[in-house]
Symmetry: C2
Subunit: 125 residues, 2 copies
């Protein structure tokens, strides 16, 4: 199987190929923006999973199932609307929602199976 092609874009590459030096400089600036965005998202996801772990404990205590399809329908419609406003491909928004909701439900189920004990998730609660 042929390996996927990869180009390393850095100062060394720019020095060897002066014709692409300007593109390398602009790519490096954009990458810093991308890294800053990712840092912010990781911090937000940390808060999100703390909140969903707390929901998991409450659901298990009250005997609710991990899934709530009415809530999911609401989230889908809301995030699609926000994505359109923000100029984001709505498929990306739906992939994001699917990812976080799936992972949250897996964790809710684990909490319920442990009798409402968030266990290793304790650090998030």
């Amino acid at each position: 199987m042929e390996a996927e092609k990869s180009s390393t874009i850095d100062a060394e590459e720019a020095a060897k190929h002066p014709e692409v030096a300007e593109a390398v400089k602009r790519i490096e600036a954009l990458r810093q923006t991308i890294d800053n965005i990712d840092g912010a998202v990781i911090h937000l996801l940390a808060e999100r999973f703390k909140a969903t772990a707390a929901v998991g404990v409450l659901k298990a205590g009250a005997g609710f199932a991990p899934a709530d399809y009415k809530r999911e329908d609401y989230q889908i419609a809301r995030l699609q609307r926000i994505a359109i406003d923000a100029g984001l491909d709505t498929n990306i928004a739906e992939m994001y929602r699917e990812f976080v909701v799936t992972e949250s439900k897996k964790r809710h189920k684990r909490i319920a199976d442990a009798g409402g004990d968030p266990g290793v998730l304790d650090v998030f609660a």
Copy 2:
């Protein structure tokens, strides 16, 4: 096939089952926090995909491949570090990274195949 169990958690449910009304109230408050976080993340993802579309155009123009494995190794190590600091399961951080990088590369490839034209991605650039 048995459908996955689902519990609708809302004011109507709380009125029918006063013994879980307190849990429902707390779940609803946490859900508002979760929705606010998701709104923020969607806005950040809109900016992220604008930045990666611009990188895609620059890469295609300079003849770089969509993938850059040295960059990916850097991103993996960085996001794992941020996740640990933030108290987020590092598997979640890696799933997030894999998702956004995979989608960005798909879009870079499309831009390169279109001869550097971001096409429908124009709205993001």
